[in-house]
């Protein structure tokens, strides 16, 4: 096909550059630099407030604690690039972990099989969300995931009522507590998945199509992008990652109950928004959200060290979410006012 076009140079009247120029200004005007700065700030402030902050063992434990919800951040980045939202992820965590524990404890299913089923249940929850959203376009993702958020946790309650289920085999605690060569296993898993998702979003045709849909869903469809399929895949990934979170969470806590992972969606959405993924869709990068996971995680840990109650953390995360979605909008307004009458290029 390219032959037909490549060979016809007789029409070239003017050449277009196809090498991107490197702009130093543009390079440094990236949201991620700001995030790194904030991250360093968090470290410095925490260190000055509490001498225990930079304690290797403490940091290690903290990382293990906050990373579990980080797994959901990866697909949530894609969902928010698609201009959608998924507030059912916390419930999916609860449901898949409750099913896993019940299978092992009550139905005597081997733990390995229970883990696989846990992943399948998570993926199924996400798949249902995705299918409902694409089959019923008149419902928004907000309403669909709101309903399934109630439903999934409701099913978890039906299964376990207000009981906890634990007694996992010894080896299962490896997910939450184990390390390989001194590095926590959860950090290794997080890093691997971070790389996988970063490549998926930025280096594959799949990721490119996700961005296209976030910018202009209609034009993407007219360009032959299989918009429904991509949306279903992304929501299924969200369910799958919620199940992975469920495994790490259950392992770390040694048991699970229907009310685990309450309001995880808020933390996850706050991390994604702080990471520079615009709620208007189509913008933002995986790396920003990954940095944001660590910012919020260490912030939480540091505040815990100086005895700020966890309830206050709610306020801080809420404010952080507001600021991170409001700042880009204000910047945008300011830009509009500044750019006077730039004529269209003709």
């Amino acid at each position: 096909m390219e032959q037909r076009t490549l060979d016809q140079n007789e029409y070239v009247q003017r050449t277009l550059k196809n090498k991107q120029e490197f702009s130093l200004k543009k390079f440094f005007l990236q949201w991620e630099w700001l995030l790194i700065l904030v991250f360093l700030l968090v470290i410095v402030i925490n260190t000055s407030l509490s001498p225990y902050f930079l304690n290797a063992a403490g940091l290690r434990d903290a990382t293990m604690v906050f990373l579990d919800k980080g797994f959901i951040v990866f697909p949530m980045v894609m969902i928010m690039i698609l201009r959608d939202i998924d507030i059912s992820v916390g419930s999916t965590v609860a449901l898949s972990s409750v099913i896993m524990a019940t299978l092992y404890n009550t139905l005597n299913v081997p733990m390995g099989a229970a883990i696989v089923i846990c992943l399948l249940v998570g993926a199924l929850c996400g798949l249902i969300n995705g299918l409902l959203i694409v089959k019923f376009k008149e419902l928004s993702a907000v309403i669909v995931t709101l309903a399934t958020m109630i439903l999934y946790r409701g099913i978890a309650y039906v299964i376990l009522e207000d009981q906890a289920s634990g007694n996992f085999p010894e080896w299962f605690s490896f997910f939450g507590w184990g390390s390989v060569a001194g590095i926590p296993f959860i950090l290794i898993a997080f890093t691997i998945l971070a790389i996988v998702f970063t490549l998926l979003l930025h280096k594959t045709t799949f990721g490119r199509q996700v961005y296209a849909m976030g910018n202009n869903d209609t034009a993407s469809r007219f360009s032959g992008v299989r918009v429904d399929r991509i949306k279903v895949i992304v929501f299924t990934l969200a369910g799958l990652m919620a199940a992975i979170t469920a495994i790490f969470l259950a392992s770390r806590m040694g048991s699970t109950r229907p009310n685990v992972a309450m309001m995880y969606e808020l933390d996850v959405i706050a991390m994604v928004a702080l990471g520079g993924i615009s709620t208007a869709g189509g913008k933002g990068r995986m790396i920003g959200a990954i940095i944001a996971v660590f910012i919020i995680g260490y912030l939480q840990y540091g505040l815990g060290l100086i005895n700020i109650p966890s309830q206050t953390m709610l306020i801080i995360i809420g404010l952080l979410l507001l600021v991170s979605v409001a700042v880009p909008k204000m910047k945008w307004n300011w830009k509009f006012k500044k750019s006077g009458s730039k004529r269209k290029l003709e």
């Binding site: 507030i87 019923f136 439903l151 309650y157 039906v158 207000d162 709620t279 206050t312 404010l319 979605v325």
Partner: protein, 344 residues
């Protein structure tokens, strides 16, 4: 003349179409009512203690708070918004008022109520400002504010409960007393519904709420101040949530950090069941009442029918999903009918 004949036949067709749409929306309320009656009969057969005065009063007072909140949520949904923070607003206002009452036990109940409304309104104005002025998506803004309000409630209460013995007699009696033979909670709900009915059907501001939701673009062209409308809507929602906070604390005689946690979902469910369109622009008071009553009955009936309370949330989720899907399918059917009627 052929010309006028054509026109009138055309218009006749249009009118039929319009009346059919109206019929369907009426049908949906009648259907809801029929479902409620059917449910009552089934519950009554299973457990005769359902239709006793004590139980009915209990159920109606329980539904009062839900229906007050559903009214505010309807207005928010009509403007194409959503408010997830109301449970937290309710808790915050309830806690602050309960603390005040526990210190100044002489506080008149009416003042307590006004104080709750005031606190809620401040919360609502904040959200309205974030949504309309800064342009943050309602779901994000209210999710964030939900956490902030909830966190504030925990912080000011320091994790402590305020229970009935710390509250004055007069305060607790808000929920137990009655006016004109009607329980005060129910009385307040009725008054609010009457005011709201007048407000949304007979005042310009009320109609402008519908206009903004039905077509934001033309609202701009018609010179409707959208910022004002959104702030008003979220303030009303906040004010009602604040009021409900006082009523809630008085009714359950305790204020705690996690009061009404997750209640916003029930409220949204009531609206959706009542036929409020999540795409904005439409929703009726009669529908919202029925939606709230239906959920109230279910919450009351499940324990009576020996259904484990742990089923409640799952059933509620399934119902919301079912309701929105049926809604969508009915609308599709109507649209398809209209298309088929077009002559080609």
């Amino acid at each position: 003349m052929a010309e006028t004949a054509v026109e009138s036949s055309n218009e006749l067709q249009q009118e039929k179409k319009a009346s059919k749409l109206a019929a369907i929306s009426k049908f949906r309320e009648l259907g809801l009512l029929a479902f409620i009656i059917l449910l009552c009969i089934v519950v009554q057969i299973k457990n005769p203690s359902f239709m006793t005065l004590g139980n009915l009063t209990d159920m109606i007072t329980n539904t009062a708070i839900l229906s007050i909140l559903a009214l505010g949520m309807m207005l928010v949904l009509i403007t194409r918004g959503i408010d997830l923070s109301i449970g937290a607003t309710l808790a915050l206002s309830g806690m602050l008022v309960a603390q005040t009452v526990s210190v100044y036990s002489g506080l008149h109940p009416l003042l307590a109520i006004l104080m709750g409304i005031g606190i809620g309104t401040v919360c609502g104005v904040t959200i309205g400002f974030l949504v309309s002025k800064i342009g943050i998506l309602p779901i994000i803004a209210t999710l964030a504010m939900m956490n902030i309000f909830r966190g504030m409630t925990y912080t000011i209460s320091d994790g402590q409960w305020i229970s009935s013995y710390q509250m004055s007699e007069s305060f607790v009696s808000i929920a137990t007393s009655s006016i004109l033979g009607i329980n005060t909670l129910v009385f307040i709900a009725i008054i609010i519904y009457i005011i709201a009915f007048y407000f949304i059907n007979h005042t310009r501001t009320g109609r402008q709420i519908y206009a903004v939701g039905s077509n934001p673009e033309s609202a701009k062209v018609s010179g409707i101040n959208q910022t004002k409308i959104l702030v008003i809507v979220y303030s009303i929602m906040g004010g009602l949530a604040g009021l409900s906070g006082v009523l809630w604390v008085s009714k359950f005689a305790s204020a705690q950090g996690d009061t009404a946690s997750g209640f916003e979902l029930t409220v949204i469910a009531a609206c959706i069941l009542g036929g409020v369109s999540i795409a904005g622009g439409s929703g009726k008071i009669s529908g919202v009442i029925l939606g709230a009553v239906l959920l109230g009955i279910m919450n009351n009936a499940l324990p009576l029918m020996n259904v484990s309370p742990f089923w409640q949330s799952a059933i509620q989720g399934a119902i919301i999903l079912f309701a929105v899907i049926v809604n969508a399918l009915v609308k599709r059917g109507v649209d398809r009918n209209n298309l088929l009627r077009r002559k080609i």
